[in-house]
Symmetry: C2
Subunit: 240 residues, 2 copies
């Protein structure tokens, strides 16, 4: 994929794709993939997470990089009111990463992705966008039930049933079956600006290197043989 | 249905049902039906509609009537930011009722019910509620695509797929195939306090009697032979 091919596709297509951009590396690489064929519209969700300001900065930095003019930020602080997750409920402690743990982690926000997708569909229907891109990763994503392909397929059905007959919106999950290391390699090929992304659930200035999200990211970069351009406060043992 | 039966069921059951209570008569009657078997939790959505304050008052009045302590109000003002509906976007005019019109009315908020249901599921998962009751009415509800039974059935599938394995939440739509006049009769049998409900899309003090929602309500009361206890500014021709 060269920049020239990328530009050609831009000129031929120009259908709109709404990209859910948290500011993390999965959504960054998803945006890089979508940019090959779609005019990008970026949607960012603030749901009361600890690192909200830092994620917002990453969102805008990435949007600037891709020259995205359609940007929407939605506050869903009701998710922190509803509680039940360490990401939003201060009474639930952020657990340190345990990659052997097979259950649902404390950072699970009940039905979060359905809330986010519903917002994305409302916006897409107004924009007349045809695709919603989400950087969900099934095998590598801590076992969240609403990150699985079967969930997104079922969601496409409710989009079809719950919107106007002339509306035609499909969710695309281009990295759903990729490993973190593969996502990083795809991003590197597409010149995705990893230095602008933010993954840490805990800190806002220097990434902690200890939370689930940091450890998965560092493990992915380690396996891909590519160096993560962002700084960490501490590193897991597997990085020497 | 007598009050004694109602109380007995209360004592035997005590599983929680989340009721979506807009403050209108459909949600009022739905709450009255759910109260027979479930401990009620009331969810109200402010989505930037013109009559937000009046609906909020109706919600609280109905909650007081049923002695509901679990109440949650969620602001989804992003729906007015996204726009595209006369209910929330001041650049789209509220159309006067035309009951012969078969298209999707201007009051349609893109994918509104999916947004609301996603919130209800998040709250229900935290409350460990087993049911979500919504007073959607398919045949009689102005053709909104996300008010149809087929939509709710598909939504149950995404709840099953998108929540924790131990979570067991189903959407119930007890009045989905009822006509307005039948809903009013059921409500009257259950002593639902219609005088506390609010349906008008346009006004907050005296109902307009002209918008889709007022006309459908008045038509229903007229057909049921029961008098609507609330006051209207004007009445459609079919009421003499």
């Amino acid at each position: 994929m060269t920049l020239i091919e990328n530009n050609n596709l831009h000129l031929s297509g120009n259908k709109t794709g709404v990209i859910l951009v948290s500011g993390g590396m999965d959504s960054l690489v998803t945006a890089a993939i979508a940019a090959k064929q779609y005019k990008l519209a970026f949607l960012h969700i603030n749901y009361g997470q600890r690192t909200q300001n830092r994620e917002m900065k990453a969102f805008n930095d990435i949007a600037d990089h891709y020259k995205v003019s359609e940007r929407l930020t939605v506050d869903v602080d009701y998710l922190s009111k509803i509680g039940g997750s360490s990401l939003t409920d201060k009474s639930v402690k952020v657990t340190k990463a345990d990659l052997e743990f097979n259950g649902i982690p404390t950072s699970y926000v009940p039905f979060r992705n359905a809330n986010i997708l519903a917002i994305a569909v409302s916006w897409s229907e107004v924009l007349k966008a045809e695709k919603i891109f989400i950087g969900a990763v099934e095998e590598d994503s801590s076992g969240y039930p609403d990150c699985r392909e079967v969930f997104y397929n079922a969601f496409n059905k409710i989009i079809e049933l719950g919107t106007k007959p002339e509306t035609n919106i499909m969710i695309e999950t281009p990295i759903i079956h990729k490993k973190k290391s593969e996502i990083i390699k795809i991003g590197a090929e597409l010149n995705a600006p990893f230095e602008l992304s933010w993954s840490c659930y805990q800190n806002e200035e220097i990434a902690c290197g200890e939370c689930d999200s940091c450890v998965l990211r560092l493990k992915g970069f380690n396996e891909s043989g590519i160096k993560d351009p962002i700084k960490y406060y501490t590193y897991p043992e597997f990085i020497q």
